[in-house]
Amino acid sequence: MRFVSCLRCYPQLLGAALGVTATLPAAAQSGLPAPDSARTQHLPLVRVPGVRPDRFAVGSRRFTLDSLALTTYRTGTLADVLNARTALYLKNYGPGQLASITMRGTSARHTAVLWNGFNINLPSLGEADFALLPTSGATQVDIQPGPASATYGNGAVGGTVLLSSQTRWGAGWRGSMQADYGSFGLRAGNLEANFSNQKLAVRTSLLYRQADNDFFYYEGRTRRQQVNAGLQQASLTQDFTLRLGQRGELLAAVWLTDADRQIQPGIGTNNTHAQERDQSRRLMAGYRYVSTRHEWTARAAWFEDIINYRDDVSGLSESKVRTTQAQAEHTWGFAPNASLRVGAEAQHFEAQVDGYGARPRTENRFSGFALFRYDPRPRLRLSLNVRQAVLPGRQPPLTPTAGAEWVALETPQHAVSLKASASRSYRVPTLNERYWRPGGNPDLLPEEGLGYEGGVVHVLTLEPTHLRLQTELTGYRQLVDNWVQWTPGATYWSPRNLRQVRAQGLEASTQLGWQPGAYQLTARASYAFTHSEKTKGTAADSDPVGRQLPFTPLHTAAFSTDHLWHGWQLNTTLNFTGLRYTDASATDFLPSYLLLNATVGRTIAVAPSWKLLVLAQGYNLTNLSYQSYDNRAMPLRHGALSLRVLWR
């Protein structure tokens, strides 16, 4: 494994004309420190002749989990990865159960999750369950905290999670197969096959996993065994990219996920044998055409999300939402240092949800955007983006984002960049908030956010030992208005635009890459201070102002290391989650916890093209009794053994 190495130059011609070399990670692109240098180790051959949307996200913090970081979690879910590798807090209702994210002091509905450019949050709930997103569905996960509706659209208030599959051209046939055997009946398998030449790139990934999750936990001093928490989960991903001539590219992707989960009852609550089936079918296709100064892209997607829930008390509740959407955009590199992208998006939702009544509900949403990037000087980058959404009923405001980055210092060893951005954001009321019966409120206003952030990035590079240390500090503040909250009414609960919430905080991260010889180390540490509270409310909002929001830890931190040496590997993750209040008055709380996981592995070459990787993974190594979410048990120390066969 090498640090940034060779780059093929063929599509760069086009990229340069557009004012970008989008084929590269940000570091190589412009001297701006890469958000995650691990990325530079593995993607030297990537060539995508287009402009990535993050080119227009100047001044915003962004970090990447690349295939190296994801590979240990090949049979896991994004919830596992994000929990272990980032300082993000995901409310976890149990292992494999609902995992809902909170970014920068907002709720899960305020995080946009995009797959190949399309929002995949469940339209009914307006959020994603990260336990339903297997890691094998993407090869790269980019996380951009903070408001960015101009770039990513609806719901990018607290942050955005971008899932993508990076194409490796000319890599030939590659494949791998993995089998896992672990505690509490964990059995998992993953099969991945890749093919690419200079014209066609195909990736297929299959995942199956099941677990009984009949782990032991403590209720007070009583040891109990968890019931009704088993699951079966499968995922199929198919990515396809075909080059049409020198300038055109056809891409298509399929991602099918299916999970059949028993719903883990809360500690001390009645087991009503709740069970949920979640199925998502996601298909997308697109065409991209790149000329000297222009790029045209058209994409369409069709999603079907099914949630069927059943328990002894309420019986069966079914939900099926189909989303059809299209995006078109045109990028014009009208000068070597300036480019403009304009585009539009249309979405059509068709919801057949028991909670909405017998007839299907349909809704159309549209938005148009313009993204502008201008580098007035080699060390100064600016972007100005704007989006206007068109919704049924009430209109969200125009959401602009302005960002700037300035490389203040650049020497062979040191680079220091300053960055700042300001952004408006919006969140459209979810289908549940609008149509759920009883209570759904069709008159809800979209939520609006107004946020700022500023930060500094320092990169230290010491070539003799291949050392690279990147440190980033970001401060932010955001006000979210018309915050929607469900409140009890005379006979039922109803969502209303009740309050204003102010979230502010600090994020610090540092990453070290070091390769003195055969030994290679990557270490990452990150810390987040998140202060989020209600600042104003309507008379109907009885929750007090000035208290930290429930389930928003003030302090979170993550520390991970990846060591490689002569075929051996050791990966450790240490994650700290501070105390979380469980009520709006900030009186009751869940204690903080520190989780340690580690993986030891050995790669053995068994034949010219064949390698074998044996991994022993240990979780919660300190045997901590903890709860991520209120009253849901989590397992004590447990582990898994994995065997991976790699071909080429």
Binding site: T269, N270, A508, A525, S542, A557, F559, S592, L594
Partner: protein
Amino acid sequence: MTLFSTFPSSAARLLLGSVLALGLASCDSDDEPEAVDIPSNSVLVLNEGNFQKANAEVSVFSKNTNEVLYKSAFSAANKESLGDVAQNISLQGSTAYIVVNNSNKLEAVSLPNFKRVGKVENLKLPRYFVANGSKGYVTETIAYDGQPGQVSVINLNSYSVAKTITVGKQPERLLLVGNRLYVTNSGDNTVTVINTTTDQVEGTITVGDSPNSLAQDFEGNVWVLSGGKVAYNADYSVDYTRTTKGSLAKIIPGQLTVATTLEMPSNLSSPNRLTINGTKNELFYTYQNGVYLYPVGNATLATSPIIRRNFYALAVDPVDRTVYGGVASFTSTDKVIRYRTGAPGNAYTAIDSFSVNIGPNGFVFN
């Protein structure tokens, strides 16, 4: 920036900080039981808690010092959570009985230390409980699919179910009058009368739609409050053309018919939480976002409230006539507001309030 100025020290600090935080956290959850000592002249407030969170609790308010002595008495005394959705608390002698609906159990704790003395598990969505010496009766919904509910007879020596008696749909509060047990069937328009000597159904009395609560007055008569049947449109908005009015019915013990029925002035709200004062001549109930008072014997029901506030719990102190109202938000620490009046007929005014736990839904006076 200083925190992360160099990598190794930052990692060390992070680790150290986390370990410290962990140490503090474990100090918080001290394992030694905290002594609970509930004095006389106190009020036990039952906090329902959030569904599925098993954070139901009992708070204890002292009338001597006018302060909350224990916010979470059950877990303080027993070092475990009370359970999920506490529905009802009642007192017999020095034993308090707590029905925990979504934990399907009945907890018995003794005063003053509030330690558990018994537990009955595997009930079927239990709602309300009444003790009768060494026997107890608990209403159970069983399911919300239209099947009839039941009353389980509990042996309070062995804490086991001795017998189950089928009653009407969704039985709610129940009242013991001599050797008769009156059970409100809120899914129907009936009250089931059970003979507590034989534990057999003696008969069924038809009352207004959806009876939910009841009380016995100074003359020995039983008053049953019916909420009225709420009819919904397809979109779950209330269809007031088909919604029936609530009513208050008087039953003379021994009779299986209603002696008098007084109808509520409007069907826009369902009356609930019938309770009676210490001298048993004033009935209080919640209705139209307020508290209404019915002096026993009046020919009509009041059209205006004595307190304009929406309560999730309502009780009247049998000794000093103070009205206790529980305000439930279910999102934050909730409160109880107390009201007093001078002479009968005077206005009720709030005297103070105190914070309890989440969702106060009932009181008992010790």
